[in-house]
């Protein structure tokens, strides 16, 4: 059976097999491998099999490796792409994108399809390489980086004959969008603007010309349901955040549909890019909670009925379970322990007790703009039915200002200072949550901050790494730590599992991030050693032990 399609049970199957073909594992974004050769009984025997050093130490290795037919494809923040023998680490080819003089380098990964390897660049090109040779086949400019200051850091999503990609820089004065290009030729197929233009439904939720600069960039990677032919994506918060007077209609009801379609989960027709439905998680997101993150497609029994759902979390830790056919809210829950931006959320998703930033005044908000969780992904195991997620307990002081938009300029209208919440000794945790009941099943605390993605496997294991360099495996049912390995550098990437010739491998990128969350962690924990790097480590059971 192909991964990512409907299995014998009729439920969507988002498990990977020998390959790890997409950013989120399959297009359903579970980050779950059906391989079980490595399991709770033998994981303690895991050993490193091969190591690959990229040599590109700018902002470490954050990408999710892609594995297809025994070949691994990995990209560095400077857009150096490597094809490696996934069993041995032998270099097959490498490609170097010309150096770009632009800030905030990061890259979440490549996409592989149609005999090509696709990736986005910091200067805003989408590039296609020949999968066999690494030769450049086509490249096209998505938008003028000199003008918008935007770039592409997300892994593209391949959907049938198209490659879909959004742009980063959601906190700038620009109008976010997703663009689909034909995989074969690079020609544009469709573009969907997050913010509707004049005359389009939703534009009336914007004050004056603010729609032109309202942000909302869908800057991460979406999901795809082949049977429904719908693409799912999270959109960023409106710009500016912390100050809304220039973008919301005076007297607007903040309860629903403010500044559409920012801070939302959207479903688009895969062929045309037409909006099918939207669900706005944080109407008038004044706190930079950004809803741009992974959309996990799973089928679950809810209140006695099998539902096709999409599960999604934003940086506030607010997590919604939506019917992915209609966008109907089925369940909502909040994950972090420290929270003061709202006092609660009703069953129908209404935010209660909004703690709004005030112009010129310094207030403390929890969670912080760095997120209860940021772009690093959760994982979902159909065996346990749990979501696995890292959560940071962090606040920030914010002093709002009323800076006006200038095209391409930063538009995050607050001076921000991260702050540890009082009366705690640990500031993050790895949790298992039941998305149906919204109940936390287990939680493993950690002293510092966690920023790597989760990987779940059919061996009932959950893998992730910490900034001190430990890459570890937890029992997916209990949270017990079963194995840990010091990789030498912090973890800010996304681990995967795959197999070659019947042997299961676990691969993890390493290298802590210097800026943003990494900078915050260095400031808050000056005594700790969070090391940068750019190395891929691959583990397996010893030969003969499998």
């Amino acid at each position: 059976m192909l991964p990512g399609v409907y299995g014998q049970t009729g439920a969507a199957d988002g498990a990977t097999g020998a390959d790890w073909p997409h950013y989120g594992g399959t297009q359903l974004s579970w980050r779950y491998s059906a391989l079980s050769q490595v399991n709770t009984a033998n994981v303690k025997a895991l050993i490193p099999i091969w190591i690959f050093q990229t040599g590109d130490y700018a902002e470490n290795l954050q990408a999710t490796p892609i594995v297809v037919d025994g070949v691994m494809y990995i990209i560095t923040p400077r857009a150096q792409v490597f094809a490696l023998d996934a069993a041995t680490g032998r270099l097959i080819w490498q490609y170097r994108y010309p150096p770009v003089q632009a800030g905030n380098l990061r890259n979440s990964g490549v996409a592989v399809s149609d005999g090509k390897v696709f990736f986005g660049t910091r200067d805003n090109y989408l590039v296609a390489l020949d999968q066999m040779t690494g030769r450049e086949l086509w490249k096209t400019n998505v938008d003028d980086q000199k003008q918008c200051q935007c770039g592409i850091s997300a892994a593209p999503l391949v959907v049938k004959d198209k490659v879909i990609v959004g742009g980063n820089g959601g906190d700038r004065a620009e109008r976010g969008y997703l663009t689909a290009f034909y995989a074969k030729t690079g020609r544009v197929a469709w573009r969907w603007y997050v913010i509707p233009g004049p005359g389009e439904r939703g534009n009336e939720t914007w004050k004056g010309d603010s729609w032109k600069y309202g942000g909302g960039n869908p800057w991460m990677t979406g999901s795809f349901d082949a049977a429904l032919n719908l693409v799912y994506w999270g959109t960023g918060n409106a710009a500016a955040d912390f100050y809304d007077a220039d973008r919301i209609i005076a007297g607007a009801d903040k309860g629903k549909d403010v500044n559409l379609y920012t801070a939302s989960v959207v479903a688009l027709d895969a062929d045309t890019g037409k909006l099918r439905w939207h669900y706005q998680e944080v109407p008038d997101d004044n706190w930079d909670y950004d809803s741009a993150y992974e959309t996990i497609l799973m089928d679950r029994q809810i209140r006695g009925r099998m539902r096709q759902t999409v599960v999604h979390m934003n940086k506030s830790g607010l997590t919604v379970v939506l019917d992915r056919v209609t966008g109907e809210l089925l369940s909502v829950f909040s994950i972090p322990e420290v929270r003061n931006w709202i006092t609660g959320v009703t069953e129908d998703g209404k935010l209660v007790g909004r703690n709004e930033p005030k112009l010129g005044k310094t207030d403390t908000f929890c969670p912080s703009v760095y997120g209860a969780k940021s772009w690093n992904s959760m994982a979902y195991s159909p065996r346990t039915g749990f979501l696995y997620t890292p959560t940071n307990e962090l606040c920030n002081d914010a002093t709002a200002n009323d800076t006006k938009p200038v095209e391409g300029r930063a538009m995050m209208n607050a001076a921000l200072t991260p702050k540890l919440p009082p009366n705690r000794t640990t500031y993050s945790h790895v949790d298992a949550w039941d998305p149906v009941t919204g109940r936390r099943v287990w939680s493993v605390p950690y002293k510092y901050l966690l920023a790597a993605s989760m990987l779940a496997t059919a061996g009932d294991l959950v893998f992730t790494g910490d900034p001190e360099g430990n890459f570890f495996a937890l029992n997916a049912r209990t949270g017990d730590k079963l194995w840990s390995y010091q990789t030498g550098a912090g973890h800010r990437g996304s681990a995967i599992s795959y197999s070659v010739n019947g042997r299961q491998y676990i691969a993890t990128p390493t290298g802590w991030q210097a800026s943003i969350l990494g900078g915050v962690a260095a400031g808050l924990f000056p005594e700790a050693s969070f090391r940068l790097g750019s190395t891929l480590l691959v583990f397996a059971l010893p030969e003969g032990a499998k």
Partner: protein, 252 residues
């Protein structure tokens, strides 16, 4: 060595403005530009970017970083995007955070960026239309780079069409026709060697730079492609305004 020299040069120049006012302005610029978002935090204490308090930075070093940025990091150069007085103020402010009692950076580091060409109000409107982001790919800057904005797909503009209709009916001699398998496409050929053919495919509204096998593609002179097909989002009045802009900035 360079840093020392700059510091000496900086010390030799007097500051025209009252220092407390400069520091106050610097603190404001810092709060709105540097402390925001994922960056340095209020008063440079802590944030997503490095702490700036008490690092032993001298004014020339700070000025260099503020003006040029740090390549490969999130730190942009503000030499062109901030007015020079704001750069001076914010550098003085950050220097004060580093214990420099009398920051005086008027001549430190690089000179301010060359001023942009002063445009008439009509030409300024034309410049905005030239790169109007609300048009997506259907804007001039998708194919033309001018005055540091746009993608240089086409050769630099050296002649300005006389009128909107002349701009529409422009026939470029550079566009030819490529046939590759079942594809027939209007193209701009960049290079054609025995190893590869590099060309811009102009079929869709986004030009695609494609690398093709020489044996798989045939290039023929001429094409039915017309400039009118890519500037359809502009009215005649808008094109006239863009032409005003071109007349003021295009160097024949």
């Amino acid at each position: 060595m360079t840093r020392t020299l700059l510091l000496i040069a900086a010390g030799a120049v007097s500051f025209g403005q009252n220092l407390p006012d400069v520091l106050k302005q610097g603190e404001k610029v810092f709060a709105e530009t540097c402390a925001t978002g994922y960056c340095h935090g209020l008063r440079g204490t802590t944030g997503g970017a490095p702490r700036l308090v008490g690092r032993g930075f001298d004014p020339a070093f700070i000025n260099n970083i503020v003006t040029r940025g740090v390549p490969g990091t999130a730190m942009p150069g503000f030499g062109e995007s901030l007015p020079r007085p704001d750069v001076i103020a914010v550098v003085s402010y950050v220097a004060s955070l580093n214990g420099v009692a009398n920051p005086n950076i008027g001549a430190a580091g690089s000179a301010p960026a060359a001023p942009e060409i002063a445009l008439s109000p009509g030409a300024a409107r034309g410049r905005d239309l030239f790169s109007d982001a609300t048009r997506g790919f259907a804007r001039c800057s998708t194919c033309h780079e001018l005055n540091r904005i746009g993608i240089s797909v086409a050769t630099p503009i050296t002649q300005v069409p006389a009128s909107a209709s002349a701009a529409r009916s422009l026939v470029t001699p550079h566009v030819s026709t490529a046939t590759a398998g079942s594809e027939i496409m209007p193209v701009l050929v960049l290079s054609n060697t025995t190893r590869s053919v590099l060309l811009y495919d102009l079929t869709a509204s986004n030009p695609v730079l494609r690398t093709l096998e020489p044996l798989s593609v045939k290039i023929a002179e001429g094409s039915p492609w017309r400039h009118a097909s890519v500037i359809g989002s502009y009215s005649d009045a808008e094109l006239d305004t863009i032409l005003m802009y071109l007349r003021e900035v295009v160097k024949p």
